[in-house]
Amino acid sequence: MFGRMAYMELRAGWKGLLIFSILLFIVSAGMPLIFPTYRDSLTEELEGANKVNLELPNEQGGNITLSWEPLETATGYMVLEDNRSSMVTAKLKYIGNETSITFEKDFEEKRYYAVMAVVDETSDPVLIGIATTEKGEDPFQELMKNPAYAGFTGGRNISMLEVKGFITLEFFSWWWMLAGLFIAYLSVSVIASDFENKRMDVMLSTPISRRRYLLEKFSAMSIIALFTILVAIVGLAGGLANINALGEFPAEAVFLSLVGCLPFLMVIAAVGMLTAVLFQKVRVGMGITFAFVFAEFFLFTFGNFSKSLEWMKTISIFKYWDYSSVIIDDLFKTGDFILLAVLAIALIIIGIWVFEKKDIPT
């Protein structure tokens, strides 16, 4: 009966799977819990500018008025200007005793103004606050200008101040690594260790064909992948419920965004199994499969850099698991899901073909 080997695989490996699942649950349930604190720390920094007021002109080329709350101990004020919130390349805009300045808006891009009070000549100036020309936008939006980060959201405009943005960037960007490498490791070792520990002779002297052997192991891997996904879904949804964020980030979106990862993990499992039957060594198979996962990731990020590199993205499996689409656009890409599943099956068929040709080493 089909399934006995898959069952044995799960039975023999349940301890490792349990430990991994607990780790996974802690991280996925814990991540949303961090969000409120994280958001407060960000907005605090922004609102450090609540003492600073910036009035923008209605039309292009008008005047900007920047005013700030006076500080009693101040002997003077200085204003720094930069196009980065970090102010590392800031230039001095104003120095004097006024608490309000007006200047022409002769630029297009976003600018930041840091207002500082000079207390006395011996100590450093004190920051009163930072204001930006594009209000309501968190300074971390800049992060999204980096194509490597933007790739994670498919170039969608999201805010780290919203739970959706936070989870997309903080949870999903490491989830692929954790789950992907776990599946890569398992899928290589369940087969290559049968070679290395000389279990293959006994196994293949039973009426189990090599095709069935591989399909059973692949089924076991798919079940494990699905299980880890379910653990993450329960953890993440539970965490979101705990901070009352399910209205903003519905459980349905949690489910669909993570389930979309199943064929993605199955492709990794199929690559792992293919390398395992090809090289029959745990270390070699693991090295190649890990390299495959990282190479796919880099192809995806490079593909976001420019139009000319976009082809790289299309050959990366990361493009076809578009969780941002589910989270932000409310759209589950069924076509991509099927495409990855077909790819996984094609890789397993190649694996079977290779396995049937090869000698079993002694």
């Binding site: 009966m1 006995r4 080997m5 044995m8 023999a12 520990n197 000389k198 279990r199 293959m200 002779d201 006994v202 196994m203 293949l204 002297s205 039973t206 009426p207 189990i208 064909s209 040709k357 090869k358 000698d359 079993i360 002694t362």
Partner: protein, 303 residues
């Protein structure tokens, strides 16, 4: 011979790159016999066996088992075949009984009766964990899994290394299996082991079959070596008897090569006070020397 052929190997060649594993090997194993497959390490025994089980892809030749093609019909053949590999590993951290039951389930066999009785006879504790087993106990697990599903054909690659008493029990089990009509094909590098249980022996050396012989014929050809030490004076002439082909003397110690008339020789020996005595089977190396000497003689004769 109109006997039913169970294994039929025709012109089997297996190359590992440029290295010859087996070359042009022809061999037939008949239903209900225990056939020994004898050769030194690296002669090609394991290669031949693993080719039969489709674990290796043949370079050339044809193998049929139960009249089925060894590669195309591998799964159908394996349903009726039990196999003990020369070297194998167990699934770690499970009970021996769980492991064996798992293999039984893969063979779609529900009865654990034979598994339990074999374990009792070979003195193996089924409640032990697989990774705790000694080498000998691991071999017992291998033997049990090869026999437990009542297979028609049992292929064993060097089933040696058990304690002498258990080894005897193992031979008894093999003889019982044979009586039930099972066919057994087992390899060994030890002539004495093969002699005690097999009826026919195929000898392989450097990837090529040297000879296939009935054990009786082989026995007569090779003979036994009797080593005996006396405390009283004995003359060499007393042992110049029928069936004795060679006598070596070293003071009171005699080494006799005997082909037949064993009782006559023992009679002559018992006329004196014996200090020590042993009867040995020819070693495989001596056997090879003998066959090569014959071959060379034939070649010389032909020339």
């Amino acid at each position: 011979m109109d006997q039913e052929k169970v294994i039929e190997i025709k012109n089997l060649t297996k190359m590992y790159g440029n290295i010859v594993g087996v070359k042009d090997l022809n061999l037939t194993v008949y239903k209900g016999e225990i056939m020994g497959f004898l050769g030194p390490n690296g002669a090609g025994k394991t290669t031949t066996i693993r080719s039969c089980l489709a674990l290796l892809a043949k370079t050339a030749g044809e193998i049929t088992i139960f009249g089925l093609d060894s590669h195309r019909d591998a799964v159908a053949i394996r349903k009726r075949t039990g196999y003990l590999p020369g070297d194998f590993g167990l699934i770690p951290s499970v009970k021996v009984s769980s492991y064996l039951k798992y293999l039984l389930s893969l063979r779609e066999c529900d009865s654990t009766k034979k598994m339990v009785s074999l374990a009792e006879r070979l003195e193996l504790d089924l409640d032990r964990k697989t990774h705790e087993l000694s080498k000998g106990n691991k071999l017992k697990v291998g033997i049990i899994q090869a026999l437990m599903a009542d297979q028609d054909l049992i292929i064993m690659d060097e089933p040696s290394g058990l304690d002498p008493l258990v080894q005897q029990e193992f031979y008894r089990i093999l003889r019982e299996e044979k009586k039930q009509g099972k066919t057994i094909f087992m390899s060994s590098h030890n002539l004495a082991e093969v002699e005690s249980v097999c009826e026919r022996v195929a000898i392989i050396r450097k990837g090529q079959l040297v000879v296939v012989e009935d054990i009786q014929v082989l026995r007569e050809k090779t003979g036994k070596v009797l080593e005996v030490e006396f405390s009283d004076p004995v003359t060499i002439d007393e042992f110049k008897l029928k069936g004795v082909s060679e006598i070596q003397q070293d003071n009171g110690r005699f080494i006799l090569t005997i082909h037949e008339n064993l009782d006559g020789v023992i009679g002559a020996v018992s006329n004196h006070r014996i200090l020590n005595m042993s009867l040995k089977t020819y070693s495989l190396e001596q056997l090879f020397l003998k066959y090569y000497a014959e071959e060379e003689e034939n070649e010389r004769g032909n020339a």
